[in-house]
Symmetry: C2
Subunit: 250 residues, 2 copies
DNA sequence: CGTGTTATTGACCAACATCAAACTTAGTGG
DNA sequence: CCACTAAGTTTGATGTTGGTCAATAACACG
């Protein structure tokens, strides 16, 4: 349990701002949300499938994912969450979780009581619409992932994932110098894209060979954005960003 | 454009009832929604990606899907929608559609003006929660599809899809005699599960050989529910049904 | 330094895709 | 009612992508 800092709140504003206009009234309400901050180690479960939640999570720092387990212990990561994201807002309305939530890197996460969120939504229709919209964009990203995993080959899949994450991070102002910091092991990339860890390695080499990216550990410099975009069959429409890509320099 | 019948409304009630309690007050409001009914031929697009909608759709009869197109003209079906479903409720809050909507069989669809839906949600918090919940269950199904396509083999995928559809149809009372009527061609099954049409054929044969189902055209008799369930690694939790499976005879 | 994790490599193989043709079915019009 | 057609299904042969296994190399960290 840790203290809340100003920048924690601003992450949430920044994230919401990417998809809708957050007015002062809403900003004010958000700044009064009670946050219980917890730090998780890399790999730690934040919640597991079947959990009944009384709080929703807000990612403050690090990288968080939602995942599902299938037969034979295989894992599928169904979403990645950046600072400012509310990765299990749906627990407000769904009795128990149909997925796990885990920290992919050391992460600070704030728990917000459902009552607080619900109260805020009841009091303020604009706020309700705002949070609703985040859930709907979430769903839109799921749809794209279904298409990505179902109908794109391995190079396209990985390229697409990089594009998506790059755009989302840029929209949050988390990218400097075109370097995408993605603290995912290749095994985790594999779980996110539905391919094997070994093959992820080969695909990454290919993306480097093609000149799209240069990797140093988890830091990937995007050398050829339009090439990567083309390789990943990527179009940002499904992210429903308020600003055009040009506004974030892409 | 066709007349609205009583049973059209009851489909919507029935569908909502599967995930939440619909009280008389809500039932009353729903029965006053203005519906503009349109019939679509098999294969017809109801709306296409990029459309800006002023209405949301309600499936009255038939089978409807949401789909995305990727490079090379490949198609991925991202969801199937049964009578009573509201397949593009998200258009209430997202400016334009990130996917297409098409009739997989001859279908009657009702268009409901956004204003009417929004008005209803604004006036009645319980109604808002009800519709919100349908969107969240929708998203939960997306997550399961990601896991299905990403981490299950072709037999599991198809079996899982059959299980899901069977359960959803049973919950709506649309199944008699354990026969699942699924008006999908094998090419469409392929687009829904991310495999090739030819391979779907072989998988179907395998499911028949294993004694799980018996097919006559689009009518599939489920001969061994627990076998199919096991083969598809299926668990209904993610459907967030109000009633346990035992309540619908499974 | 050891030690554990992650990345990389190569050999091999299985699952699934692709292609092309034949067959079945359902619908249509004479 | 039947021939005709188009759509969908089935089959076999063949090719490719990507999975699996096992070993090695590169890091990261105490």
């Amino acid at each position: 349990m840790m203290r809340t800092e100003h920048s924690d709140r601003s992450r949430l504003f920044a994230s919401l701002q990417t998809i809708a206009e957050v007015r002062d009234a809403q900003r004010e309400m958000l700044s009064q949300l009670p946050l219980r901050v917890v730090t998780f180690h890399q790999g730690a479960d934040i919640l597991v499938e079947g959990d009944e939640a009384t709080d929703s999570c807000l990612v403050l720092s690090g990288l968080v994912c939602r995942y599902k387990l299938v037969a034979d212990g295989k894992r599928q990561i169904v979403s990645l969450h950046l600072p400012g994201d509310l990765p299990d807002l749906q627990s407000l309305y769904l009795a128990y979780s149909d997925h796990g939530l885990a920290a992919l890197s050391p992460s600070r996460v704030a728990f917000i009581p459902h009552e607080a969120l619900r109260g805020m939504m009841d009091r303020d229709a604009r706020m309700a619409a705002l949070l609703l919209k985040t859930m709907l964009v979430d769903a839109s990203i799921f749809r794209e992932w279904i298409a990505n995993i179902g109908r794109r080959d391995s190079v396209q899949r990985i390229a697409h994932l990089f594009c998506e994450t790059f755009v989302r991070m840029r929209a949050l102002g988390l990218v400097s110098d075109n370097v995408l910091s993605l603290p995912l092991t290749q095994a985790e990339l594999a779980d996110a894209t539905g391919i094997s860890a070994v093959h992820v390695n080969r695909v990454m080499q290919q993306l480097r060979r093609l000149g799209f990216i240069t990797s140093r550990g988890n830091h990937h410099r995007i050398n050829d954005w339009s090439g990567l975009k083309r390789a990943g069959d990527f179009s940002a429409a499904y992210l429903h960003l308020r600003q055009p890509l040009s506004a974030i320099g892409l």
